[in-house]
């Protein structure tokens, strides 16, 4: 017992109250530094109290942290998988078709000169027929040059038309694409899909033709076979198969054929014409903006893949919404853990709260202490969850799947984009702080007198 020491203190000095500062430096007792936060500011004392609350209740704190960490980890694992598969899907969608196609059409019919002259005219001219013209993109060389001057894209001119192929007494209507092989390679994956021959072979054979595997099987054609092509314009020519491709899309493989642009122009009787530009971007998502730019500049209709597959994009959006609401639900459940922990702390520490308030702590000091606890749980839990989630994603990417009927081993597509980390962090912090609001408010409302009366 140290009571004697207390009596010895008999206030012979109390110097501390008589002078502004002690004249002799006081030897500091060896404090524990664990809870002494840098400066004596109000914020740091609030934080210090918040930390002690969490540290003194290790098990519930740990459970709350695990809840948030698991929530964030699952959030990331599911999100990376869903977003990865979405990207994979889009990649397939995008790579097998052009990012942007410029057609030799106008989005809206050209207004008639009379309408332009008298826009408010009361009389409408009927049975007006547009001027007959050779279809195709006018001045395609300059327009292509303009498009190619834009950064981050590659463009190729194409003339698309229909021809009938006949071979060994069998006829088949197909789409003939007149291409420039060197440019086509930059905008299409067709080059990678060649099973026999190559796209470049077209350049060497002015009468060369590249067909799909489906069509080749239909005709019983193989490399080097000669097939007769007849166009609606009445032209006819024998073409030699110099390449066979397989995209896996049966419709495409049976109907699409490629030849040199010059040959197609001759066959279709549209000399020096092209009716499409096919564009490929480094970043497919800029297609929509570039489409409107091109359309504004050259007038022809430019359709991006985003516009062409708007229905699919909205399906993907709905899918993402569903996925994010499910994974956020995990975090909402985790938030109940935090709510539970903090409510218990408020109940257990109600005497501390009463003494702090009687000492002169404001209601908002107390509220901030408990909000800070929510923030700390959320932050630490999120960081743990981030590590765990990255680990899970690392495991998922190693999973190997062999789809039935396929020969290649496929890896799960995983998306590593930073936006999902921010989203997970945002959801986790919102749940954690949201869970802290009610306990914090309850703590702030503690009336010291109620507690003191209970004790007295």
């Amino acid at each position: 017992m140290d009571e004697a020491g207390g009596r010895c203190a008999r206030f012979e000095t109390w110097a501390i109250f008589r002078q502004a500062a002690p004249s002799t430096p006081v030897r500091h007792p060896p404090f524990s530094n664990r809870l002494t936060f840098g400066q004596g500011s109000t914020v740091s004392i609030q934080l210090a109290i918040a930390v002690t609350h969490l540290v003194s209740r290790k098990r519930p704190t740990l459970v709350s942290l695990v809840g948030i960490a698991l929530g964030v980890a699952f959030f990331l694992a599911v999100s990376s998988l869903m977003r990865g598969s979405e990207r994979d899907f889009i990649k397939r969608l995008v790579d097998n078709s052009p990012h942007l196609t410029v057609y030799d059409e106008y989005r809206n019919p050209q207004p008639q000169p009379a309408t332009l002259r008298w826009p408010d005219g009361a009389v409408e001219l009927r049975r007006v027929k547009p001027l007959r013209e050779v279809r195709g993109i006018r001045g395609h060389a300059q327009k292509l040059a303009f498009i190619e001057s834009l950064p981050g894209l590659r463009a190729a001119p194409v003339l698309v038309g229909s021809v009938v192929l006949t071979f060994a007494g069998r006829s088949e209507g197909v789409t003939l694409n007149g291409i420039v092989p060197a440019k086509m390679k930059g905008v299409s994956t067709i080059e990678d899909k060649m099973t026999q021959g190559s796209l470049e072979a077209l350049a060497a054979h002015p009468n060369g033709l590249v067909i799909g595997e489906g069509l080749a099987r239909k005709f019983g054609l193989s490399l080097g076979g000669v097939v007769n092509a007849v166009s609606p314009a009445g032209e006819s020519r024998a073409l030699k198969v110099v390449g066979i491709f397989r995209t896996g899309n049966a419709g495409y493989d049976e109907t699409q054929t490629f030849t040199l642009l010059k040959r197609a122009q001759g066959l279709l009787d549209r000399p020096d014409r092209v009716n499409r530009f096919i564009l490929q971007f480094d970043d497919p998502y800029v297609a929509r903006e570039v489409a409107s730019l091109i359309e504004a500049r050259i007038g022809y209709k430019a359709v991006s893949w985003l516009e062409a597959s708007e229905d699919l994009m909205s399906v993907l959006l709905v899918r993402n919404l569903i996925m994010y609401s499910v994974v956020s639900a995990i975090l909402v459940v985790a938030a109940f853990g935090i709510y539970n922990t903090l409510s218990t702390i408020v109940m257990e520490k109600v005497h501390d709260i009463a003494i702090l308030k009687s000492m002169g702590f404001h209601a908002h000091d107390i509220r901030r202490i408990f909000l800070a606890e929510g923030v700390m749980l959320g932050l630490v839990g999120s960081l743990l969850g981030l590590g765990l989630g990255l680990g899970l994603m690392g495991l998922l990417i190693q999973v190997e799947i062999k789809p039935p009927g396929a020969t290649d081993i496929v890896h799960l597509p995983i998306y590593w984009g930073y936006d999902q980390y921010l989203l997970a962090l945002g959801f986790a912090m919102a749940s954690a702080v949201g869970a802290a609001v009610l306990p914090a408010r309850k703590a702030a409302r503690v009336q010291p007198v109620t507690i003191l009366r209970g004790m007295g």
Binding site: A9, I16, G38, T42
Partner: protein
């Protein structure tokens, strides 16, 4: 000279189906440097009176004057700020924060007020503990101390921001006679040596006999001729 603490027709009724009157029509003046003991039987309302004087509770009638200011119009934040600067509390149970060291407990009010730099506040806390004979206990946790020591830490904490008034609710109620005598002596010396005003609710006759003035409370009313 103005009284440091004054009650004017102070009343407190707990609302409810059957309203309970805790304190009624108490008027009293407490001078600077006075050592006042409030006495009375259990449930007489003496603690309720102390809470009203300490701005912890809001009166249903009347008002409290502290240091010449009418506190009846203070908002909750202003009341808290006034408690922080002008009042120090010592309760029957020490109410130290268990997770903090003794020194950090004494530092709490100073850190909240933020009037002193951390360095100076630490020196002051250490000096306060030394004055109360706890100079070598600063690094300990409250549970490592005896009851009397803890109560002295609570006194050090009450004095941290150098308030003019110290209010004590049964400060010796939980202590053995030796420790009680020590705490009584300290509170007495606070008024004599430092000019603090001490108002203490007590059952302890020895404690009350050390006071300058004894106020009896019975059924929430001042009982001038009350004898324990």
């Amino acid at each position: 000279m103005n009284p440091i603490l004054a009650a004017e027709n102070l009343g407190r009724v707990l609302p409810g189906e059957v309203p309970v009157t805790l304190v009624q029509d108490v008027t009293l003046d407490i001078e600077r440097g006075e050592f006042v003991a409030i006495m009375g039987p259990s449930g007489s309302g003496k603690s309720s009176l102390l809470y009203l004087l300490g701005l912890l509770d809001t009166p249903t009638s009347g008002r409290v004057w502290l240091d010449g200011r009418d506190t009846s119009r203070f908002g909750e934040d202003e009341l808290a700020a006034t408690r922080l600067e002008k009042l120090g509390f010592v309760f029957q149970f020490h109410f130290l924060l268990a997770e903090f060291t003794v020194l950090d407990n004494v530092l709490l009010p100073m850190r909240r007020l933020s009037a002193r730099p951390e360095d100076e506040a630490r020196q002051r806390a250490a000096e306060l503990l030394r004055q109360l004979g706890l100079g070598d206990q600063g690094h300990k946790r409250p549970h490592q101390l005896s009851g009397g020591q803890r109560q002295r830490v609570a006194i050090a904490r009450a004095l941290a921001n150098d308030p003019p008034v110290v209010l004590a609710d049964e400060p010796t109620g939980n202590l053995d006679s030796h420790a009680s005598a020590n705490v009584r002596q300290i509170l007495h010396d606070l008024t004599r040596e430092l000019g603090k005003t001490v108002v203490a609710v007590t059952h302890d006759l020895t404690f009350a006999s050390a006071a300058d003035r004894r106020i009896g409370i019975v059924d929430g009313l001042i009982a001038p001729d009350w004898q324990a």
